[in-house]
Symmetry: C2
Subunit: 388 residues, 2 copies
């Protein structure tokens, strides 16, 4: 397989974007990435789009072709494919675009991720998100994701002594990082007290333990690595890509505190990159709820199982810690337009590895890791990147 690099990135601000449509958002992120890569439409061999539920959020399926059209490429008849794996849709689109170049078929591929979630009401958004859970064994009985992750948190507390304060530290850290990111939905620091006293959603998770409902889009341009330097001085190579599945419903798992899909996807990515968790300089992980970040840093091998809570408390994962996690603000503060998230993580890795992350720049970063989860872990995708 050929090596593949990112040569351009684009991002919209994440948030409640009442004045921008689905079409405007994806065109904005895509055109930014294309300008950043200094390519033209005729250079693009294919488009891949990640979106979880455009059919329910904006009543529009068939968005691959739509994205090609709103980007002004209809006359070029560029193949355009939508990929879906719930909240991991973005990373799946990255992976399909990556393999289409690695195979030798394509040289340049644009990958987009998008979700426009606020055009439906809040309770409707929660119901739509629950279509990523098992409809027959979970959603039918009233379980939605806050409740599902609350069960994981409760068990993690019971097994490992993780505390509500440790969960809260995740939110505090990610809001501190989000405050340094002009694209983040929430750009103000919060205190531990704010998180601890936030309205209870599903015990032990309060409102400030939950990522928000967001609108937004992200885009990257992928290029065969041997041609990347024709377009940019700073191509960022994908050196590892892993993907794994698990049961849709939580009750089928070996252990509800471990996302085996993360463990397996990470193993694949580390093996391909020929490095281990100790080599990672910084990571974007899937913190849809604070407990999810604690599980992630354990399952990715950064800390021992059960030690995630204390690692967060010891500030190992802050911007000036030994392993900065969610420098962008993460899903928690940057926002979580679900289909966009996996692509936005690659945008953050690229900006950090280019040394263009401004106030939130990680020093001397060599290897970045992105971890994108669908549902409560039925799908996981891990990518590892390095500057060329």
């Amino acid at each position: 397989m050929r090596d593949v690099a990112v040569i351009g990135v684009g991002l919209t601000k994440f948030g409640e974007l009442w004045d921008k449509s689905f079409r405007q958002l994806i065109a904005e992120a895509g055109s930014q990435a294309i300008l950043d890569a200094k390519i033209e439409g005729k250079d693009i061999n294919a488009l891949y789009i990640g979106s979880m539920s455009s059919g329910r959020f904006v009543e529009q399926e068939h968005i691959g072709a739509l994205v090609a059209e709103v980007s002004g490429f209809s006359h070029l008849h560029i193949p355009a494919t939508r990929v879906e794996g719930a909240c991991a849709s973005g990373a799946l689109a990255v992976r399909e675009g990556y393999f289409s170049i690695a195979s030798g078929l394509n040289d340049i591929v644009v990958v987009g991720g998008i979700e426009k979630m606020n055009d439906v009401g809040g309770s409707q958004a929660t119901a739509i998100l629950a279509t990523a859970a098992d409809q027959e064994w979970e959603a039918f009985f009233g379980a939605t994701f806050p409740g599902i992750y609350a069960m994981i948190a409760t068990r993690h507390m019971h097994e490992y002594g993780t505390t509500k304060e440790q969960l809260a530290h995740v939110a505090v850290k990610n809001h501190a990082n989000g405050a340094l990111n002009p694209y983040a939905q929430y750009q103000k620091p919060i205190t531990l007290d704010t998180v601890m006293k936030s309205t209870m959603v599903a015990s032990p998770l309060g409102l400030m333990d939950c990522s928000p409902v967001s609108d937004g889009a992200a885009s990257i341009v992928l290029c065969a690595a041997d041609k990347a330097k024709n377009y940019t001085d700073k191509p960022i190579k994908i050196i590892g890509s892993g993907q794994a599945s698990d049961t849709l419903a939580l009750h089928g798992r070996r252990d509800i505190c471990t996302l085996d899909s993360t463990v397996h996807a990470a193993q694949q990515a580390y093996k391909q990159a020929q490095i281990g968790p100790k080599d990672i300089s910084f990571a974007e992980v899937h913190d849809c709820f604070t407990i999810a970040e604690i599980c992630a840093i354990e399952d990715l091998g950064f800390v021992e199982k059960g030690k995630g809570g204390s690692a967060i408390e010891q500030k190992i994962t802050t911007l000036d810690g030994t392993l900065p996690v969610n420098t962008s603000g993460g899903l928690k503060a940057k926002g979580h337009p679900v289909g966009a998230t996996g692509v936005a993580q690659i945008v953050e890795l690229t900006m950090q590895l280019r040394n263009e992350a401004g106030k939130r720049q990680v020093k001397d970063a060599r290897y970045g890791l992105a971890h994108n989860v669908g549902g409560s872990g039925a799908t996981c995708v891990v990518h590892i990147m390095e500057a060329m």
Copy 2:
């Protein structure tokens, strides 16, 4: 890129399957394909699933992981990815599976296609299907697919003198073929008179010009060609794959009687296969409406533009004609569970090229072509196959 072959196929009966669930259907098709290929779960490197709108038809997104689970593979953590491009979702899944092997990443991949459409009411099904059209420029104003294809038919009649009788001949032929296919939704021949007098849906298209609302699933097992003979004596190779896009709405097209996405996808597939339209022995084309088959045989280069209607009337495309088209019964008589259709076309090509198509077997077939369209042509995928 490595060569790729089909080593196993599976299909459920298509129809109004009130007694089978979404989960049962995909497990049935998948297990048939796996048994046919004589492989085990541990041999499978990845799953790809095509489905247009599981989120709206059965309120379940994230079906990649679900299919892995209901197939009994959760413990293997096999990567599972859903692909969507409206009614071309099935062929897009085939294409992603194909490239994942061609790249060298995977050796064996199972591809499934599914739609369970009857669990919602008929008018709701039409509304869901319209999410494959442009929601802002078509569906919002009340246009659904029968009306959109009726516009294509009206213009084709005006430009080329195509007649309602010629449209009706498509339905008569495809029902005659469907009568020979035990998996078809409709297994009885119909007369020209029945089609001509059927209830008007959108002039000039009557009920018998339209493909039905269907439940069903299809599955194939893809294998690196150099390993295919370890599993079967009759591997069927994919020798060409093409994909192209166009505007989502009809009004943006250069010519509404020509699907440029078909023209471009076919050019790619012919070029890769190093053959031309005259070499094709038989084809499965996307006859969601009778007019669509007429456009398809023109745009695929089988007949000159405007001559599709007379070619059908001259019985060139019947089972004993010079170029049999839709030997399975096509979408019209076999049924059209949208996400399954593109995979089911590959199943039919494989059965014909294995010489296992029973009463509808094409004699001395060498090259088979499958043509799968999303919406009114915003997405098109063409595959060409040959026995190894």
